[in-house]
Amino acid sequence: MAQHTIRREEQGDLAILRISMPSVDAISAAAIEQMCSDMRPITALDFAQVNFINSAGISALLKFVVAARKSGYKLFAINVSPHHQKIFKMVEMSRFMPIVDESDLAAYREPARV
């Protein structure tokens, strides 16, 4: 199920995990957690398709934070809605998974080979 619910794009040290499920909650937590065992030095979670996150979802996302901390990797969030930015701010999630623009990740992509 994880393959259909989270699409992975990788370029060098950067991995973007595009979450395609609309709810990040207790039901989708297992699929999300499966992906945190295969992080890259720079990993970004894309929330463009996500329209609901509850505390069970936050707990699942924290598995990424824990995995990133253990490996010394950087973790970012992109395309986070204003409502979810509010929620992330409330629980101080953004300290550990900063919200950035996708264009900011360009610096971590490998340059094109000429």
Binding site: S23, D25, A26, I27, F52, N54, S55, A56, I58, S59, L62, K63, V65, V66, R69, P82, H83, I87, M90, V91, E92, M93, R95, F96
Partner: protein, 141 residues
Amino acid sequence: MHRVTLSIPSDPAFERVVRASAAELGETFGFDPERIEDLKLAVSEAVNNAIDHGSKRQSHLPVEVSFQVNGDHLEVRVTDHGGGVERIDWSRRVVEEDNLDAGMLRGFGMYLISSLVDHCEVSSTAEGTVMTLRIFRKPAE
């Protein structure tokens, strides 16, 4: 006064049913989009709390949710028939290094509820727990 009542099994899969109902009611009642999101999340947390901690996920035990429109606010009552809870911790809960390192990744639900609604209260006995939320169309000043 209008009331909508749902009864669901104590199974996390059914929380989404209640959440969808909350969203529809919020829209019908004239909440703005952000307030609907607050309502959905608060109701989701209350229902999950009833399922996980009240009923201990015993699916044969129902969780009842009533939505009542009272003038300028919506009252949501979530009732479980578990063994009651000793206390609810409403205190602010944020992501912290120590908790991450200790694997303590849960416990944000009640803080989120208390921050998103205008009033919340809990009544709990050995026969079960009732959580009552009141959400005004616009947040209280």
